[in-house]
């Protein structure tokens, strides 16, 4: 099971945080601090996994942005790496050639995509098409929209 996902820039600025288990503000702050320092200190060409307390940290850098995923230690690290990759693909498909600025200015959209992709710390939907369809469908919703239209779009 996943415990948290963090996105931060090369300068250590937090761009997105998702916590899958209940945690106190202090714990969160500590994790964010530890993750940014640990991940940013890694040399290039080192492996993408780290140990932090009893958790496995899997991280990957895409352009100027680091994606960092904390999973329980019995989890499969390679699979976690692919979770990150799929999330990036989802962002890319939604924003079209995604860059850090897209995520800065539209972070709530990034959260919505994440919520469609992961749920309760587990993978929910892996298909790019389906995740994207449901996000776009809810984006298009107007104030007075009716659910029928949504059903047609989202549920085919």
């Amino acid at each position: 099971m996943m415990r948290f996902m963090l996105l931060f820039s090369r300068q250590g600025k937090l761009r997105l945080q998702k916590w899958f288990t209940s945690m106190s503000e202090r714990e969160k702050k500590k994790i964010i601090r530890d993750m940014t320092t640990m991940v940013l200190a890694r040399q290039p060409r080192s492996c993408n996994f780290m140990q932090w307390k009893d958790l496995k940290i899997v991280y990957k850098r895409y352009a100027s942005l680091y994606f960092c995923l904390g999973v329980e230690s019995q989890e499969n690290e390679l699979l976690a790496l692919e979770i990150i990759h799929r999330y990036v693909e989802l962002l890319d498909k939604y924003f079209g050639n995604v860059c850090e600025l897209d995520i800065i200015f539209n972070f709530e959209k990034a959260y919505f995509i994440l919520d469609e992709f992961l749920m309760g710390g587990e993978i929910q939907e892996t298909s790019k098409q389906i995740v994207n369809r449901s996000i776009e469908a809810s984006d298009m919703l107007q104030e007075d929209d009716i659910s029928e239209w949504y059903e047609v779009e989202l549920f085919g």
Partner: protein
């Protein structure tokens, strides 16, 4: 920072034109969030940022609290608040508005509201309760997107106590026509299962339905729950193995829709989930494993594409193959697969390869040998993670011959590692290895442990120093070698104390003082006075903890001889005899008395005493006279601390809310004064214990009684149980060792250094059929002596020579203890079997998941406190039922023991049967107990010997009855038992059975008055609340509902006042549970309280069931 600004500025124009971009967010140039973000990026200092954000927060705060703000504006404000929080500034004023937005907004606004709530609050936040109604409403919405949002937020965070309120609605969604809703509902239930398994245990059958869902997505989601449940209790799900195998086969065969593919690999997440489940199911189970061999083989073959995701699957596959019952050709393929990982140039794969190797070397140590050169390379890898993983692997292949090299490598790593978690873990491992192979003729052991103590510091597990001291004091089989070892320890500690002892960790100082106190006399040139002054120096150090000081004082007590030392000891004992710390004071007094009376000291603290068995009189019976005298003199009886605490809490609760109670004030105050005397008494008795006269009294009871944690090691060592089996076993092995023949030395190679390292690391792996693994105590069948040939070999190699030529590594004391314990417990259980009247053992388990654990526990102990055996076996004669075919359940009624026949009993249910025995059982509710009646029916031609209760002749029935009690409540109590019997031929057989009793059978009405109820209510700490359905068929819904519950569950209705009612019941004779009911908005709000954890939860479940079944 500056390049971000630059980037931002250059990217802005393109960003603004993005509006037309499909899917891209529409960020207007005037958007306030946009302004904020741009504003921040333009700043140069943290201080300016803070000012800007504070300003921003003020503006937001003003706007959100204005009544004119529309929901649409609110949505925008929330996004800004989220941003500020992400930057690390608190915006707690907006939390309540986030909830409001989720509650009142339109779909789009609601989405932001829910997002804000899930980012702002966590499960325990009190505001979250306000969200419950919103979630309830949205779950019932006809708008699917609202339902989706509600399910998402529920799985993200939901107050645990409120789960019952929404559970029926989420359950209902499992039947929803839309796949996405069903899937989200399953995941929400998974989350519930994780945080509150009790709440969902009644819907396990619905999980099965989700597993069989026609949509693969829903099925995939249900596997999360199954993985969890199977982990807890694999036995219960063995029947699903073929289904999982079939699913995996279909997935691997590409039968799923394209949507599930990930980079052309079919549903990798699903595959891995299934592989994990299969490995749990197939573990230690040959027949189940056989079902999955084929599909595992196929998975291995199919995953050939060179992509991370296929490697992820392969890794899981390999792990599965090595977990389940082994099959040789699969193992071979898996081993080859591991080779691909390990040899891969990609560092991530190498890491996983090492992990896989670590996992499999336990079964097959030779695999490590194949990859030894790679492992050596990884050991020097610049990436610490790789290095760490390699050490983990080496730890698993350690044996008597390579231990020094491996430990050396680990210590090297410890010196450079900065992570506390890693240090603690690694220090523990080094200590484990060092103690497992103490190499007693060697100084290596002491040196290693010294490094461990100074590196591990005070973070390490406390059992490390304890077992080290134990090892030292117990010694080995040779007196001379023991002396050398101890002397070496002393020699190594003296310079440390002369140096800078202030830098040493407390734990190490404690070890040092104990060893010096005990063994410094071994070094003849060392004056005790010098040791004493070194120790006294420790006392003066500022950072010495009082625990360390008491160790030091203890050591000084052992050393002081009077004469020249007197001044030091006198001074010390004077200083500390007035210490505020009672333990230190006690030690100081001891020091004073004993230093003045050498004779007494020699008796109390004999020098070089072997650890001896002490009989600990835990009942403290020697104090009986004292107690009875005190009681006779009017003292109040002793109350254990928890009881005192409970009463104290109670009195606190009473004094806090005097008006909320119907209790008379005088009564509460009177109970408080009553209570004071025993507390006083126990305090004074504690004091009298503290100043116990030391002279002449044999220390029969360890100081645990009043000095629970500060127990000096000297005591600990003496209380140790001796293990007489150890020494002969070790000697035997030592003899066999000497007869081994030496092996040849490795030939020099170009890469000599690495080769040397390899040979010293992997020595003993190839030739041994099994490596002695951690935690296992199998003696090594073969040990090889290596000839010492100085061919310019590396130092590590030479170190290795020394050890192996001295041919030691006896199995560690730890192992022997472990072994002894095992033996002991075996004996115990055998004994129990022999003494029991009928060799039938029962055990109650809390739900199925704990069944095994409980079973073994009761097996080893021989008797389970939860079970009282009545020992009443009635062997009934053949009677009128001679025809085996007619021996049915109906007839069994007549076999019920006479004293039980008048009482109501459950239906007699068949349990299990084999060719000779038929077991049936029922339970009978007596007022004070629940009797389990087991009918043992001999359905064979011949008589069966029951050990030793006699014989059950052909076609007759024996009846056994057992009184059951519940230790920990569960919804259903499962009783597991075994009947062992002997056939006339003399062969012993046994038959296992299990029997499930609902908790309701243990529930009895509990007649109390309203006042008593009030008192008890406050004293119970475990509670649960839930809304139940009301029965609405007449004028008085409350009375009707309570009566229904009373009838079904045997509750006692204490009183009904208006819309409220109080009800009481108990679990058999003890363990009460109180229930407070109130009619509220068409529901019955129930609040249960009990002193027993889980009882309220289980009872509410049965209440729910009872009302549903009406």
């Amino acid at each position: 920072m500056s390049d971000v600004v630059e980037k931002t500025l250059t990217a802005l124009p393109s960003l603004l034109s993005l509006d037309s971009h499909p899917g891209s967010a529409k960020l207007s140039s005037t958007s306030k969030l946009g302004n904020l973000i741009r504003g921040i990026t333009e700043l140069t200092s943290k201080h300016e940022e803070e000012k800007l954000i504070q300003h921003e927060l003020l503006a937001i705060k003003e706007q959100v609290s204005s009544p004119n703000t529309t929901m649409r504006q609110m949505k925008e404000l929330m996004v800004r608040s989220i941003y500020c929080e992400m930057l690390g500034y608190e915006a707690s004023f907006s939390y309540i508005h986030a909830i409001k937005l989720a509650q009142q907004g339109t779909v789009l606004e609601k989405r932001v509201g829910y997002l804000a709530v899930s980012l702002f609050l966590n499960e325990s936040h009190e505001l979250l309760l306000l969200l419950v109604n919103t979630v309830l409403k949205d779950l019932q919405s006809t708008n699917l997107i609202e339902v989706c949002m509600a399910l998402t937020v529920v799985s993200q965070m939901f107050p645990k106590d409120m789960i019952p309120a929404i559970l029926p609605l989420v359950e209902e969604k499992l039947n929803h026509p839309k796949e996405i809703i069903r899937r989200k509902a399953v995941l929400a239930l998974y989350k519930f299962y994780l945080i509150a398994p009790n709440q969902v245990q009644h819907i396990h059958n619905k999980f099965r339905k989700a597993l069989c869902d026609k949509d693969p997505g829903v099925m995939t989601a249900s596997l999360h729950i199954y993985l969890q449940m199977i982990q807890e209790n694999p036995e219960a799900y063995k029947d699903l193995t073929p289904s999982f195998v079939t699913i995996l086969k279909q997935v691997v065969g590409g039968k799923l829709p394209m949507d599930f593919n990930y980079h052309t690999v079919p549903a990798p997440w699903l595959q891995i989930q299934l592989l994990r489940i299969l490995s749990l199911l197939g573990k230690n189970d040959q027949s189940t494993s056989e079902v999955m061999y084929e599909v595992l083989d196929e998975s291995l073959q199919r995953a050939e594409m060179n992509h991370n995701i296929t490697y992820a699957i392969l890794y899981e596959c390999v792990k599965c193959i090595y977990t389940i019952h082994p099959k040789s050709d699969l193992l071979e393929k898996a081993a080859k697969c591991i080779g691909n990982f390990v040899l891969s140039p990609k560092i991530n794969l190498k890491y996983l390869g090492l992990k896989a190797l670590t996992y499999v070397v336990q079964q097959d140590p030779k695999l490590a040998l194949q990859h030894q050169m790679t492992i050596i390379e990884c050991l020097d890898h610049p990436d610490l993670i790789i290095k760490r993983e390699t050490l983990e692997l080496l730890f698993r292949i350690t044996n008597g011959q390579n231990v020094t090299v491996i430990v050396e490598k680990m210590l090297e790593f410890l010196c450079i590692s900065e992570d506390d978690h890693t240090t603690i873990d690694l220090v523990g491992k080094v200590a484990e290895l060092a103690e497992k192979y103490p190499l007693k003729y060697n100084e290596w052991f002491i040196e290693t442990m010294n490094t461990v103590f100074s590196l591990g510091g005070d973070m390490m597990q406390p059992d490390i120093p304890n077992s080290f001291l134990k090892l030292l004091s117990e010694g080995f089989d040779s007196v001379e070698e023991d002396r050398k070892l101890r002397l070496f320890a002393v020699n190594s500690y003296i310079p440390l104390l002369r140096g800078e002892p202030g830098k040493l960790p407390q734990r190490f100082l404690q070890v040092i003082s104990w060893v010096l106190g005990e063994y410094s006399h071994l070094r003849e040139d060392l004056e005790p006075a010098e040791v004493l002054s070194l120790l006294a120096k420790l006392l003066d150090m500022k950072n010495s903890s009082s625990e360390t000081k008491s160790w030091v004082l203890m050591a000084m007590t052992k050393l002081c001889k009077g004469g020249a030392d007197a001044s030091v000891t006198q001074e010390v004992s004077e200083t500390y005899s007035s210490s505020l710390d009672t333990v230190l004071r006690q030690r100081a007094h001891e020091l004073q008395y004993l230093s003045q009376d050498p004779e007494l000291r020699a008796r109390v603290l004999p020098r070089g005493a072997k650890p001896e068995t002490l009989e600990v009189d835990s009942s403290l019976s020697f104090l009986d006279r004292f107690v009875s005298e005190a009681l006779a003199a009017g003292a109040a009886p002793y109350k254990p601390p928890h009881q005192r605490q409970e009463e104290l809490d109670q009195s606190k609760a009473l004094s806090l809310e005097p008006y909320g109670l119907s209790l008379p004030i005088s009564m509460s105050s009177c109970s408080i004064t009553d209570r004071q005397s025993p507390t006083l008494l126990s305090m004074s008795s504690g004091l009298s214990g503290d100043t116990l006269k030391l002279d002449g009294i044999k220390r029969v009871w360890g100081r645990e009684g009043y000095l629970a944690q500060r127990e000096p090691v000297e005591e600990a060592a003496q209380v140790e149980v001796p293990s007489p089996i150890q020494s002969p076993g070790r000697q035997g092995e030592g003899d066999s060792l000497h007869s081994q023949t030496p092996t040849q030395t490795p030939t020099p190679e170009p890469e000599q250094e690495k080769q040397q390292l390899a040979s010293s690391l992997f020595v003993g792996l190839a030739s041994q059929s099994s490596v002695s693994l951690m935690g296992k105590s199998e003696p090594m069948p073969q040990r090889f002596r290596r000839k010492a040939k100085g061919q310019g070999l590396g130092s590590s190699f030479i170190a290795n020579e020394q050890i192996s030529s001295s041919l030691i590594s006896p199995p560690s004391a730890v192992d022997n203890l472990l072994c002894n314990n095992l033996l002991d417990s075996n004996n115990a259980s055998e004994l129990a079997e022999q003494t029991s009247q009928l060799s039938q053992s029962l055990t109650t388990a809390n739900g199925t998941c704990h069944a095994e654990a409980e079973l073994t526990e009761s097996d080893t102990k021989g008797c389970n406190p939860a079970l009282r055996r009545d020992n009443c076996v009635v062997a009934a004669g053949p009677g009128p039922h001679n025809d085996p075919g007619r021996l049915t359940e109906v007839c069994l009624d007549s076999y019920l023991p006479a004293e039980l026949s008048g009482l109501s009993h459950s239906e007699i249910a068949p349990l299990c049967a084999n060719q000779s025995l038929n077991l049936s059982a029922c339970h009978v509710q007596k007022e004070d107990s629940l009797i389990l009646v087991v009918f043992i029916m001999n359905s064979s031609e011949s008589a069966i010997q029951q050990i030793p209760a006699g014989e059950v002749t052909s076609y007759s029935v024996a009846v056994g009855q057992y009184s059951l009690t519940v230790k920990r409540p569960a919804v259903h109590v499962e009783v597991v038992g075994t009947v062992s019997y002997q056939l006339p031929a003399g062969t012993s057989q046994s038959l296992q059975f299990s029997y499930k009793v609902p908790l309701t059978s243990f529930i009895r009405p509990f007649v109390v008055s309203t006042e008593e109820y009030g008192t008890m209510w406050l004293s119970f700490s475990h509670d649960t609340k839930q809304n139940l359905t009301l029965i609405n068929d007449n004028q008085e819904p409350l009375t009707a509902t309570l009566n229904a519950l009373k009838k079904k569950l045997q509750l006692h209705v204490v009183e009904v006042i208006g819309m409220e009612g109080i009800v009481a019941c108990r679990l058999l004779q003890d363990l009460p549970c109180l229930m407070h009911c109130r009619v509220n908005a068409g529901w019955l709000a129930v609040w249960l309280r009990s002193p027993v954890p889980d009882l309220p939860d289980c009872l509410i479940y049965h209440c729910q069931r009872a009302l549903q079944s009406l």
